[in-house]
Symmetry: C2
Subunit: 530 residues, 2 copies
Amino acid sequence: MQFSGRSILGFHDGQESGEVFHAISPSTGEPLPGEFTSAGPRDVDTAARLAAKAFATYSHVPAKIRAEFLRAVAGRIESIAETLIERAMQETALPRPRLQGEVGRTCNQLRLFAQVIEEGSWVGARIDRADPARQPAPKPDIRSMLHPIGPVVVFGASNFPLAFSVAGGDTASALAAGNPVIVKAHPAHPGTSALVGEAVREASRECHIPEGVFSLLFDKGIEVGTALVNHPLVKAVGFTGSRAAGQALMRACASRPEPIPFFGEMSSTNPVFVLPGAMRERAEQIAAGLHGSFTLGAGQFCTKPGIVLVPETPQTAAFVAKLSDLVRGSAAFTMLTPGIRKSYCSAVVERKSVGTLRLLAEAQPSRDVPPLHALAALFETDAQSFLHNPSLADEVFGPATLLVRYSTREQMMEIARNFEGHLTATLHATDEDLRGAADLSSILVDKVGRLLLNGFPTGVEVCHAMVHGGPYPATSDGRSTSVGSQAIFRFARLVCYQGFPSEALPDELKDANPLGIWRMVDGNFTRDVI
Amino acid sequence: MQFSGRSILGFHDGQESGEVFHAISPSTGEPLPGEFTSAGPRDVDTAARLAAKAFATYSHVPAKIRAEFLRAVAGRIESIAETLIERAMQETALPRPRLQGEVGRTCNQLRLFAQVIEEGSWVGARIDRADPARQPAPKPDIRSMLHPIGPVVVFGASNFPLAFSVAGGDTASALAAGNPVIVKAHPAHPGTSALVGEAVREASRECHIPEGVFSLLFDKGIEVGTALVNHPLVKAVGFTGSRAAGQALMRACASRPEPIPFFGEMSSTNPVFVLPGAMRERAEQIAAGLHGSFTLGAGQFCTKPGIVLVPETPQTAAFVAKLSDLVRGSAAFTMLTPGIRKSYCSAVVERKSVGTLRLLAEAQPSRDVPPLHALAALFETDAQSFLHNPSLADEVFGPATLLVRYSTREQMMEIARNFEGHLTATLHATDEDLRGAADLSSILVDKVGRLLLNGFPTGVEVCHAMVHGGPYPATSDGRSTSVGSQAIFRFARLVCYQGFPSEALPDELKDANPLGIWRMVDGNFTRDVI
């Protein structure tokens, strides 16, 4: 496996000689093969200029070609899947099946967006026809649709080396909409990033996509990311990561001379509400599902359930006992990065010191744990203590969760009302529980992007209806989603044309509807020619 | 005409005794009858709490009832139209036909949104059905739709005392989506605001809309507006006004502990490109249309054409002569407020002092001009000078425009490339001009929300396809529109439901599709039952 270790600037390599760094194996703590060179301000500027220049062309490239490009990227990723998985395993210590799944998910995402733009109706074309005879003034012909927004910067995420990184959902949706993308690679998996970056570059060449539609920048530190979001030619940013980093970038985007939209997915504790009937019916089953969910990927998922509301029922003791047993029996996990491990261990130590929290169970370290190991932990508190300590609702990134025991329905409702924005909330409920929970659902729907019933929030389905978003601080813009086909709407803007003859309009708006898309004509949805 | 002069807090009146103020007649400079009391921090807090409480109910009120409410507001406005127009004429000095038109437009807007929510498809319902047999993991049932965002603050605009004020487009779209609205009345037309506010309050009572879905706050200064956008229970803001005020509010929204979306429509110079063929064919016709457009409403429209790119042709002299004649013959205008008049007069004086600008024509004051009078003015410069002085592209709010003479196509293109975001751009072009202007259109489409051919940008049609938006600094969020039915999308957010039985879902997502709306089911648009 060979890496140039240089940033990808369109069809060329980065020229600057910034700090050199290596990927670190989370399993051994040792550097992995391959040297990577941090980009510098000139590389950032080159990438942005190439992107802006490419935008003028790429924004008019027919959807059919953009779809071919996305499929070519998927095809090239699949063709190097084995190499990619090997390297990603070394860089992240994530297990092979998980990374195999992530390759599949990444390619499915690319193909989903290819399909969405090829079908074409996503642009939301609307046509209001003229009425020259209207009194007191003639009605003009007005037609609107979504257009791409301009160069988009995407930050690779540490916890999804493929599906939320170089050719992940942000990149796929931005490219699909017709925008160039500049990716800032996550320094924890530069080799994986380089391999995927090369696949995208080759696919660009193969499909005659203009130079600059894709660039990939390496940086050990935060300078390149900061320079990118402040570059005047950049028009939007997609980010998945920590709350602190997300908030800093959000402020940077809002403070630019020209503020730009920032789509950051930042943190979430994903409360789970176990209702009394469900606890009575299937305490142990819920305990097992919950353990699987909060320890999946070492708890390093943004949808990890970190708060579980537990009712007082005769079966609650069995639920707690089962969950405690499972936690004690968990093997040690290897965390993605030293920073994540450190934050997790500090959070666990801190929680152990909180008087109103009780450590119910913790996994035991085995003899030869990897340097970046972490242990699953299960804490417990009561509703009143939880309500008095809002920081207990903050995300702990890693394999820990907190049971909050409630003894009255009103306590549970009060906790629900006090939540900030989260990505998800989950109800475990019987049919009877559910009939009495309309008020709870109604509170939660204003707090989250996804409400689940009798499931677990990890495992985010990539589909048309998925909403992976939620009110601040879960995301920076609670109106959007970063997963699923609706993610494309983040990187597009409305434009209308008034008084243009059909032949001068984009195909989506022509009378003959040559693309055969769904349109709103004079207020009615139709695929008809007009 | 009697006003309590107090803010409207749900079904009650404001209690605080802030600074008292009067509306000032722009025609006489004298105070008009009616005392208005500025709200204070307690009134702001009351309005926000009432709104948050009302949201819990109103967000679940069926669309049919919300539509009835919007129609009741329109009906009540029509029933007091004469009183309203009289008062608005006194407060704004706008002519009767304009205000009659604005009453019509305001009511049409309310009814358009009523129709949109009654039809119901605007929520963009999507259903991805489960596949329990899918390998390697079962596919869950996921269904998404738009939900209202929460209490919305709307700032009344000085230049549209009805259509962009208390029950204007921002209010109508926010209420339609299911959000409570708190309006900050513009202090230049408090009486008009009070009358409309009372109409909304009465319509709320009539339709059994919960208290707090609508409040209206008066303030002579900026304290109430500032407190509103900083109130933690407020979830979004709609604003139409000056760039300075818009930018300040935009910063305030972004700097809150919980940042919220801000939809500000701030300033635009609306460039007009006259292409050579069009100038040759109809120089005088364009001159006449342009004069009508840039002096309409005393040039106090956000879509006023403030820059006109003029080619060198044999007919250009006739164009300039005609336009100059029309400007010299314009009667004096009465401006809306002392502040607007002062800014306009300063801008004209300043432009007269710029060496590279030439005053081509100015209207002559008649004997007895009103105190807030302003005179139409026509300036001219050349392409090079324009390119060297970017401030010439800034909005001058009032009846002035600037001709920019270009002698080469490349100059015109360079000017187009250098524009910031505007609401509109207009081409005057023959068929032949247009065939050669694809590159110009392609630049402009990235700079504006609406591109017009052979028309004039003033007169914004309220319809499904209208886009009254545009990249920063024209608006704070170039992905949105503040006019037309797509304005509703600003005040809604995506939510999805996973694994819920049909009967526990909102009607929009139930299998039986009881509302008969268009939905995307497994990727296909349909109104079918599933």
